[in-house]
Symmetry: C2
Subunit: 128 residues, 2 copies
DNA sequence: AACTACTTTTACGTAAAAGTCAATTTTGGC
DNA sequence: GCCAAAATTGACTTTTACGTAAAAGTAGTT
């Protein structure tokens, strides 16, 4: 049936505001259809939004997210462009690997914090 | 000899501006000593800066970074505080695990992008 | 002492990514 | 066909994390 989603359905699903989704449209990240002025979102839009939000959580800027999305829509056809893109992909990857390491380091640091808390609680005489 | 670092030494080492380090001081993340008005940074400050920057790369706000740092300096002594902190630590961890998953998903997506590029290049007749 | 290279403080500026508000439409249900 | 609820638009505001410029202090060198 190729269901349509309303904007508020999606804001509820993803926990973002309508303003945010409209902002993403202004930025060219999604292109919901229109019936009159009302936006109609399809599955494809829904998936794109998921991707945008994932990128956002990781800390990508809108511009970076747009760049990645573009590749799917319209992969560059010229050699120079392709090689440039591959270089950027490579940089991004290095970046993400660093971030993953940062996260792992921080996770084990948080483990330490938790242990310190437990120890302190035991000292005070609280049974956990 | 417990060497001191000047502000510009550290800006060079970490690739940040003097403004950034002074900002971190204003925000209470570091407390370099002073000789007259000039800041003198020690190893401890250096390590703190590393931690701050790691937090920054992950996407923590200054407030969040400060909160984590506080725990080392001055772990809370009261039960309620400790339990609250542990709850926060737990939330942070869930958050980081999500982020790690996001990163892994994005990494494999980037692999796809790269492959698409290679395929396209081969089509054009460029040997890589 | 003058020169050079940093450093400090104060204060205002800025970019990104929305949030907020108010004034219109538009729509779905009866 | 009417009306409350939902959606749209545009303008303005906010927050975070610094940038930037001006004016003056500081330290080592020649």
């Amino acid at each position: 049936m190729n269901k349509y989603y309303t904007i508020t359905e999606l804001t509820r699903e993803f926990g973002v505001s309508t303003r945010t989704l409209r902002f993403y449209e202004d930025e060219g990240l999604i292109q919901p259809e229109r019936r009159g002025r009302t936006r109609l979102f399809r599955q494809a839009d829904r998936r794109l939004i998921q991707e945008v939000l994932r990128g956002r959580r990781i800390g990508f800027t809108i511009a970076e997210i747009r760049e990645i999305i573009q590749v799917y829509k319209d992969p560059p056809g010229e050699e120079g462009q392709l090689k440039l893109l591959m270089k950027r992909v490579d940089e991004k990857r290095a970046d993400l690997r660093q971030k993953r390491k940062d996260i792992e380091d921080t996770l084990s640091e948080l483990d330490n914090v938790e242990e310190a808390c437990l120890t302190r609680l035991a000292e005070i005489g609280v049974s956990t």
